[in-house]
Structures are given as structure tokens and as C-alpha cells.
Amino acid sequence: MNTKLAYLIAFALLLVAPLVLYPVFLMKLLCFALFASAFNLILGFGGLLSFGHAAFFGGAAYITGHALKVWGLPTELGILIGALSAGVLGLAIGLLAIRRQGIYFAMITLAMAQMVYFFFISADFSGGENGLQGVPRGSFLGLVDLQNNTAMYYFVLGVFVLGYFLIARAVHSPFGQVLSAIRDNEARAKSLGYDVERYKLLAFVLSATIAGLAGATKTVVFQLASLTDAHWHMSGEVVLMTLLGGLGTIAGPAIGAGIIVTLQNTLASGPLSSWVPVVLGLIFVLCVLAFRRGVVGEIQALIRKSF
């Protein structure tokens, strides 16, 4: 009941947010919140640290950009194609990576993502280090012009809610329960007759697809896809967002993403502007050492303790 109320309040706040805050900034925030939530599905609930999620985020960004700019597809279809391609890429990388766990899994996803990155550097259609620029925003169902920031915001909000709902559904479904069981004790889950690898693969593909959805949407918002989206620093950033917000909590990653994006945006033009990487690194270290449950995790623990 309480969570439902919290969600309602959060949704209401998001509805009125563009009246107070700058919509483009909010859209960026939502895209990263969705990205982090998707990532959390595989780390928080699947117990697998992927260090290559930038490949899905950036891959979808590029494919959507190409679909909209060169093929001239409608916006919704372009985003869909981007997300699905990320899913296919997730299947390919996942098939290879889920054979191993823990650190191996992290290294393998990192290396595979690096291959994807090099592909985008040298491929012709991606524009190399210039990125894919001038992607048209188009319109929603051919009716609402998305060039308008407010219209675009509500479109992004729609995508976010959809993606978020999908993740929440997956986590609370029997599938999500099995996934958590595998995370907590893989051998036991196996002995209970679950096809562990298939569950993990499915979670990985789902996570990749939604990460792709976030990347694709971001391309439409900023009208560009660039190498930043596919670089391994992006993979690191999404880990930070998730960790900061709270691993394995449904709302945590979105909140973590909010904090990091706000921080990046504020620091970018303040006196600390050239210290951004250092500040992010320090937050990382602090989180890992003192704050492993993340913002939401700590709050939950506090509530549990006091009631």
C-alpha cells in the first residue's frame, strides 16, 4: 500500500516536473533512470555484474539514430528497432557470458562491449568519433510534433513508465523469484530442477533490451548518438548509479541515476567542472566502503530498524 502511494506521488511529481525543471534535463534523467533500472535487473536481481551494458545502450542509440535519420522511419518504430537490436546483441553476448559467473562474467561482458565500441568507431554509418548527428525527433504516431520539448518530455515519460513497469513486473513474477533464488544459491536452484542458464540468459536479454530502449530514447531526445554511449566508462557509470541508489531495490537505480545525472550537470558548469571524474570516483569509493546498500537500501534499513 505504502509503495503504491509512493509510486503515485512520484508519478504525479514527474507529471508536473517540467513546469519547474528544465525538460531536456528531465528527459536525460529519465533515460538514465531507465538504463540503471534495466541494469539492476541483471545485477541486483540476477547477481551478475555486467561491465558491458554500454554496448546495449550505445548500440540501440546508433541503430535508432540510423533508422530515423537514414531510413526515415517513424519515431516509435525506430526506438523499437533499436531496443530489439539491443536485445539480439544481448542474446549474442549473453550466450557467451553466462557460461561464467562473478568476475569472469564482468570481464567477458566488458571485453565484448569493447568490441562493439571498436565497431562503432570504425563503421561507416556511425560517423566515427563525430557520432551520428542531426537525428530527427519526428512525431508521436504522426500526430504530436516531438520537436516541442514538453511533448517530447511526456513521450519520454511514457517510455520510462512502460520500461519501468516491465522491470517491476518481471521482478515480482515467478520468473523474478526464480532469478533471485539463483542469485542467492545457484546450486540449490539447479537441484530444484530449474534451468539456471536459461533463466539467467532471459534476464540478460531482457535487461539488454530495456537498456537499449533507454539508449534509443536518449538518441531521440538529444538527436544524436555518440561513442560516449558505447564507451566502457558508460558501463561503469551505470554500475555507479545502481550501487548509489541501492542494489536490488526496485526504485534505487532510478534514484541513483537521478543523483549522478544531476551531479554531472551541476558540476559541469561550477567551479568543480574539471574535477567531475574525480568526484564520481570518490562517490564510487565511498559507496563501496561505507554505503553498500545505497540510498534506498539505507532508508529501507532505517525504516525497518525504527518500526
Partner: protein
């Protein structure tokens, strides 16, 4: 024609093989350091690239500020950076004992950001100049290529370092303790061995290896704050191919990946950045634990 092998004169091929070996020497020393750390601490040291960079900066700094030349730096820089590493282990990583090893990876990732970011701030992004030691200027004509003395020295120094490390770990008492610590730290502690100290030393040694590679690299690559940040990803792939934590695996894979990459630079230069990752994918399909690793 015999003089042409696949369209390339054999001289070119020999030259590329040798150069590949030289690059492989760097991979070997760096992945060896990772393997040592992984073996005992079970963490992937994401700060390895940053510490490699620290080694190179220490080399340039020792010369600029203290007038200590290359040969002094070859000893001092790994000691200094190794000591920094031991502090990192003692005061940061040790707090993570008992939690998931992935947190170690994340902590060192954060550290890498802090170290590299601060160095950009302090020294600028362009880096410092550094020349090879005068004794190793020039080179020798091998017939198929001109080999700078310095590159020859790099291979020699790296291989000796690898063999020494292998000897320490496989043939000495300390090595036996270290291996025992990997297998069962509690039991080892019960036998009266100071395992936390051993862990600190192992991390320091792994870091010192990274710094050693940094010293070797200082005269041939740009000594800049971000020099290690991309290299490290390739080294990760090398470690995965070799089998994480395997000393011999790290050495052999490091050298051979250098050679494979060198050959790719001749036959298909565009793919040379990705060939190691491709090899990794193939190895993982065939031998998920890596070439020298034990299945876990």
C-alpha cells in the same frame, strides 16, 4: 615465390613477430600483476592501468625532480608505487573482506577514476617527455629489421621479471604460503602465518609489477595520465584467456597475444584492436576456464 609469404616479404613478417613479442612482454607483466592479485585477493584490480601510469609518472618525476635516472627509477618506481598499493590494500581493500569480491572490482574502478582524474588536473592531459637511457640509445640491424636496443631490453627485462615471479610463487616457501592462502586462508592463519600481511604484500607486489611495466613503457609511449585507461581492458582480456589467477597462464598468454596482435597488424590492421577480444570469445566457447585455468 618463396620470398613472399602470403604477399608479405618474410622480413616484414619476422619484424612484426618480434614487435609482437615486445608488446606481449608488456601484456605479460601487466597480466601477471593482475594474476598475482587475483590469486590471493580474488579481486580484479581495475586500478591496474592507473597504477601502471603512476609507475611511468614516477619514472619521469624521479628524473625531473630528483635527478634520478632511468636505472634508479627501475628499482625505485616499483617500490614507491608498490608501497602506495600496500596502503590501498591495508586501508581500503581490507575493509571489503567478507563481502562479495565484485565490490573489490568496483572500489578499484573508483580509485582508477580518482587517480587518473587528479593526474589530469595536476599535470595536464598531454603528459611529460621521457627519453630512453643513453646506454640504450640506438639499435642493431638484424637484417630483417632495425631493433632499437631499448626494445630488446624491454623483452629481456620483462621475461626475467616474469620468470622471477614464477619462481617465487612456484618454488619458494613464500610462494607455497601464497598458494596455500589462495586455497584456504583460515587454515593457513591457524598454522601461524600472518595472512593479512601476506595479502598486503601480494597486492603490493602485483602493483609493483604494474609500475615496473610503467617504467619500461615510459621511454616509448607518451607518459600521460590516461595512458593506462584503455590498455587495461586489453590486459583483462589477456587474463581471461590465460585463466584468471594462473601465473604461467598470464605469462604465456601475454606473450602470445602480443604476437597474435602483431600479426593482425600486418594482415588486417583494422582488426588489431579487437583481435584479442575475438580470441577471448573463442577460448571461452572452447575452454570456459581459460587456457590455463581450472574450472571453478
Amino acid at each position: 615465390m618463396l620470398t613472399d609469404l602470403l604477399g608479405f616479404p618474410p622480413q616484414v613478417l619476422f619484424g612484426q613477430l618480434l614487435l609482437g613479442l615486445i608488446n606481449g612482454a608488456f601484456y605479460a607483466v601487466l597480466s601477471l600483476g593482475l594474476a598475482v592479485i587475483f590469486g590471493l585477493l580474488n579481486i580484479v584490480n581495475f586500478a591496474h592501468g592507473a597504477l601502471y601510469m603512476l609507475g611511468a609518472f614516477a619514472t619521469a618525476g624521479l628524473t625531473t625532480y630528483f635527478g634520478i635516472g632511468y636505472w634508479g627509477a627501475l628499482i625505485l618506481a616499483p617500490l614507491i608505487v608498490g608501497a602506495i598499493g600496500m596502503l590501498i590494500e591495508r586501508f581500503l581493500l581490507r575493509r571489503l573482506s567478507g563481502v562479495d569480491h565484485l565490490y573489490g572490482l568496483l572500489l578499484t574502478f573508483g580509485l582508477a577514476l580518482v587517480i587518473e582524474g587528479s593526474f589530469v588536473k595536476l599535470f595536464g592531459s598531454s603528459g611529460l617527455p621521457y627519453a630512453p637511457p643513453p646506454q640504450l640509445m640506438g639499435g642493431v640491424n638484424l637484417g630483417f629489421m632495425f631493433l632499437p636496443w631499448y626494445r630488446g631490453w624491454v623483452v629481456l627485462a620483462a621475461v626475467v621479471m616474469c620468470l622471477v615471479t614464477w619462481y617465487i610463487f612456484e618454488k619458494t616457501k613464500i610462494g607455497a604460503y601464497l598458494r596455500a592462502g589462495t586455497e584456504n586462508p583460515k587454515l593457513l592463519q591457524a598454522f601461524g602465518v600472518n595472512v593479512p600481511l601476506l595479502t598486503t604484500l601480494a597486492y603490493g607486489y602485483g602493483v609493483a609489477l604494474a609500475a615496473f611495466a610503467g617504467v619500461l613503457a615510459a621511454p616509448i609511449t607518451q607518459v600521460s595520465p590516461l595512458m593506462g585507461s584503455n590498455l587495461i581492458i586489453v590486459v583483462f582480456a589477456v587474463v581471461v584467456i590465460g585463466g584468471m589467477g594462473s601465473i604461467m597462464g598470464a605469462i604465456v598468454t601475454g606473450l602470445s597475444m602480443g604476437v597474435i596482435e602483431g600479426l593482425t597488424k600486418v594482415f588486417w590492421p583494422e582488426a588489431s584492436a579487437t583481435v584479442i577480444f575475438a580470441v577471448m570469445a573463442i577460448v571461452l566457447v572452447l575452454r570456459p576456464a581459460g587456457l590455463f585455468g581450472n574450472a571453478t
